[in-house]
């Protein structure tokens, strides 16, 4: 069976935010979020739910709609307020099985924390930096994670889960003016806690950190090619393949304690 046909019955939600063009600073559909919509449309076609928390009049929402969406659900709230609580509550009630987001927003705090906080709130697993969802069978999804240098890691995850969509995922389809102007904004007014800390912040364009120049020691083209494509070798750590699950779990637990993640 095609993964599509199975996924058609699934409830998939793509979360979208207001993007910001890197050159002009103009609002637009965010690159990763629109990839999340693209992936959602591939899996669920017309049944995809696209959800935004913020201002329903926002023009950027229209450019998501232009991808061919009939409607966008908007939780109306102050765009500067914290969206995690209302989104979490909405998702909990909606019975969503897969929630797709971008890795980080292009405007606002851009901390990349929303998918993690949502996952924590819903008690769901999160798969970060997804390139594709290959198949969904019997409540288990096979997901491809994007790793640096074009590498992929195949992961199996039980539904429901949250995935943040990496820039390596399929490009978003073109946004067309006709569907963009026709789409309906289904608005639900929600209350959200004002982000008091954020109000005192001042926004300024980020500046790239200076980077130490890399001295290329390679003498031949082959060496340069190798240097450019070689897997980064992590130091430390160990690969446990043959040990029992209990031993593997114990090792992870010890590592987490050692790193101070668990206390």
């Amino acid at each position: 069976m095609q993964p599509n046909q199975l996924a058609n019955k699934l409830k998939i939600v793509s979360l979208v935010s207001v993007g910001k063009h890197p050159q002009s600073g103009r609002v637009r559909r965010a690159d990763q979020d629109s990839r999340a919509v693209e992936l959602g449309m591939k899996l669920a076609s017309d049944n995809l739910i696209v959800l935004h928390a913020g201002d329903p009049q926002e023009q950027a929402l229209r450019s998501y709609a232009g991808m061919g969406l009939k409607s966008i659900q908007v939780l109306e709230m102050d765009p500067a307020a914290d969206a995690v609580m209302p989104l979490g509550e909405h998702l909990q009630q909606s019975g969503a099985e897969i929630v797709l987001t971008g890795v980080r927003a292009e405007s606002g705090e851009s901390s990349g924390m929303v998918p993690y906080q949502l996952a924590e709130k819903l008690g769901w697993p999160i798969v970060p930096r997804v390139a594709d969802i290959v198949s969904i069978e019997a409540g288990i999804a096979e997901v491809l994670q994007a790793l640096p240098r074009g590498q992929r890691r195949s992961v199996k995850v039980r539904l429901p889960f949250i995935a943040s969509v990496d820039s390596a995922a399929q490009d978003a389809r073109q946004s067309a003016f006709g569907p963009a102007s026709r789409a309906v904004m289904e608005v639900e007014v929600v209350s959200a806690a004002t982000d008091a800390v954020r109000q005192s912040w001042e926004e300024a364009p980020a500046r790239k950190r200076p980077k130490r120049l890399k001295v290329v020691k390679a003498k031949t083209a082959a060496e340069r090619f190798k240097a450019a494509t070689a897997k980064s070798q992590g130091d430390g750590g160990k690969v446990m393949k043959n040990e029992s699950a209990a031993e593997q779990a114990q090792a992870i637990l010890e590592l987490l304690k050692e790193e101070g993640v668990l206390r």
Partner: protein, 653 residues
């Protein structure tokens, strides 16, 4: 002759069937969208348009214009006299003799049509069209013999039964083609639909030597109407007079012979496109089409109907995206059909409804929307090219004689050389000019040709809002595409920013300066020069002379290419074609460069940055490519040069 009652009955039957067919055909056109046309005025003007506008185009081929005048004129005359003499039975020797003369004229014309069809060029359609000269001969010959008794040449009732049967057969054949076939879709349909097309043409301004090349804006409010669609999805989404225009096609293939995309082996043939539109409006398949196919695509698989979506089965979107909007087909069409309008209408649907602009199209449109330039560069970097030029900004000076419209060439390093050259010329001639700087946006040309009229309209309105803040007498630009938009397409948006403003291409403006003696030029001493007419300067705006005069003013004798002036071949850079990049067997730019090389020229003078980019993209060895502004700047007599040398000498000492 026996059966005297038979022939009037046959004529009456043929005419009644023709009328039924005409009503049926008119209803097919009426399925299109309404358009504001003065029907009575159009009909009144029609004979004049036929004799003047249409005939002027046919006249480019003397053989065909004489043949057509004899055949067509003879037929129209004969048909009316046949009704008087044979149907109404008016017994007049004068009428009968007049009819004989008309038929003779038609017969002679038909002989030349026949001769033409003996060895037809590949561009003309075969099939039923091969039968037409014989039908014309049958009609003219049979009625000639039939009229002899009425003229008193033969006694009444002469000829036996055999002659009557033969004549009757020929008359049925002739009238079947010429009366019945005219309204039921035979080759003669072109006369019926063509005449009405001339009367109800969508661009009435084209008649009487006028020019109308700006695209018509899309009503964007349609997007929110129930059942509304942007652009043309189905044949019935065309205006009714566009549908009528498609039906007027004579399949002469002059468009095909001129089309750069067809010559490059891309899947476009303007003639086939119009015939597919006819298939669409009437319903059916293209199996009966007997002309050249779209290169690389087999004929017979296209199917359509008035309410079928055109790009689902009738036309491959690739066909629509192959067009460079060079207007060579429109310029060449004796029936004055508007191919480019139809193509852009269908592109509008693909882009604004389907979101299906191919290859880099979507990315370029996204860039234009987000940054107001197709390259996606930071809008604030628009004047970076002129950092060392010290250009007066409109924002500061508020008014100037000349507004220099820089265009998106500002972001392209090759085009910047043209811009610099032009600025140097402006300064040398002491022109009072200013630029908009970062306030200038993309003119919207590419967005509009790619079918995104929403973005075009947004850019046009914002540009007009900026322009309306300042005072200037002239806008001058080095980019013919911006020139065309500003001059012909911005007037649809209800702004008075460009009222009483002269929009000029830089070659026109520089030519004025040279003629006025404000620019002194040395004679050009280099090698042979040819000139490439940009489509958007020449065919779109009729400016062929100024660039040539400029070149001549430097003592250059232009080695004209075989295809120059209104028949100039496109460089391949228009209509977003380099962005959508539909594969063919050759590149249009290569073919154009071959045209240039074959004149023996070592320098191609150009008046457009797109053409410069396309022609310079051709692999060497090839002639050098330079904008006219760049050639001029090299020949500029620098009046300050002497004093500068003096200064330099002082500094040295």
């Amino acid at each position: 002759m026996s059966f005297e009652w038979l022939h009037p009955l046959l004529i009456a039957t043929a005419l009644v069937l023709a009328v039924i067919g005409a009503v049926r055909r008119v209803n097919l056109w009426r399925a299109g969208k309404p358009d504001q046309i003065n029907l009575i005025a159009g009909l009144m003007a029609m004979p004049g348009r036929y004799l003047h506008d249409l005939h002027d185009i046919v006249e480019r081929d003397k053989y065909m214009s004489r043949t057509h005048a004899a055949t067509g004129g003879g037929f129209v005359l004969s048909a009316s006299l046949i009704i008087l003499v044979h149907l109404l039975g008016i017994d007049s020797q004068i009428l009968a003799w007049a009819l004989l003369a008309a038929l003779a004229l038609m017969f002679v014309g038909a002989l030349f049509v026949f001769k033409r069809r003996l060895n037809p060029p590949s561009r003309i359609s075969k099939g039923p069209w091969m039968r037409l000269p014989k039908s014309l001969l049958a009609f003219a010959g049979a009625f000639f013999v039939l009229t002899l008794p009425a003229a008193g040449v033969l006694p009444e009732g002469s000829g036996g039964v055999l002659l009557t049967i033969v004549l009757t057969a020929l008359i049925i054949w002739g009238m079947g083609e010429l009366f019945f076939g005219m309204t039921w879709g035979g080759p003669m349909k072109h006369a019926f639909a063509g005449a009405l097309h001339l009367a109800f043409h969508r661009r009435q301004e084209r008649f009487g030597g006028g020019r109308s090349t700006g695209l018509k804006p899309v009503d964007l409010s349609l997007a929110k109407e129930i059942g509304g669609v942007l652009g043309v999805a189905k044949p019935t989404d065309f205006k009714w007079n566009q549908l009528l225009g498609f039906d007027a096609c004579v399949q002469c293939g002059k468009c095909e012979a001129m089309c750069p995309a067809f010559a490059a082996g891309q899947p476009l043939n303007p003639k086939k496109l119009i015939q597919d539109m006819v298939v669409g409006l009437a319903g059916g398949t293209d199996a009966n089409y007997a002309g050249s196919p779209y290169p690389g695509k087999e004929v017979g698989h296209a199917r359509g109907g008035p309410d079928h979506i055109i790009t689902d089965g009738l036309i491959d979107p690739e066909t629509l995206w192959s067009c460079t909007t060079c207007r060579a087909c429109v310029e060449e069409c004796p029936m004055m059909i508007e191919h480019v309008d139809a193509i852009v209408d269908m592109r509008r649907y693909l882009t604004m409804e389907r979101g299906n602009t191919p290859n880099k199209g979507a990315e370029v449109l996204d860039n234009i929307i987000a940054t107001d330039n197709p390259g996606g560069y930071a809008p604030a970097s628009r004047t970076n090219w002129a950092a060392d030029q010290n250009l007066p900004l409109m924002r500061d000076v508020k008014q100037a004689d000349v507004l220099f419209w820089v265009s998106d060439g500002a972001f392209d390093m090759r085009s910047q050389r043209i811009l610099r050259a032009f600025v140097k010329l402006l300064k040398a001639a002491n022109v009072d000019f200013a630029v908009l700087g970062d306030e200038e946006l993309d003119c919207g040309d590419v967005a509009r040709r790619l079918g995104d009229d929403a973005t075009f309209q947004s850019l046009a309105k914002r540009n007009l809002a900026v322009l309306s803040q300042y005072k200037f007498k002239r806008i001058v630009t080095t980019d013919p595409h911006a020139y065309h938009c500003l001059r012909n397409e911005y007037s649809d948006f209800g702004s008075d920013a460009l009222n009483d403003v002269e929009v000029l291409h830089h070659t026109t403006f520089l030519n004025q300066l040279v003629q006025l003696g404000q620019l002194k030029l040395n004679n050009f001493t280099g090698a042979k020069v040819t000139y490439h007419d940009p489509c958007y300067l020449g065919r779109y705006n009729g400016e062929y002379e100024a660039p040539r005069e400029l070149l001549r003013s430097m003592g250059i004798e232009i080695a004209e290419m075989e295809r120059s002036g209104f028949r100039s071949r496109c460089c391949g850079g228009g209509g977003g074609a380099p962005v959508t990049d539909i594969p063919g067997e050759r590149r249009i730019a290569d073919m154009r460069m071959d045209d240039a090389s074959s004149t023996g020229a070592e320098l191609v003078a150009v008046g457009c940055q797109q053409c410069t980019a396309m022609l310079e993209g051709v692999v060497e060895p090839r002639p050098e490519v330079k904008d006219i502004a760049e050639i001029l700047v090299d020949q500029l007599v620098d009046q300050t040069a002497d004093s500068k040398v003096g200064q330099l000498a002082q500094e040295v000492h």
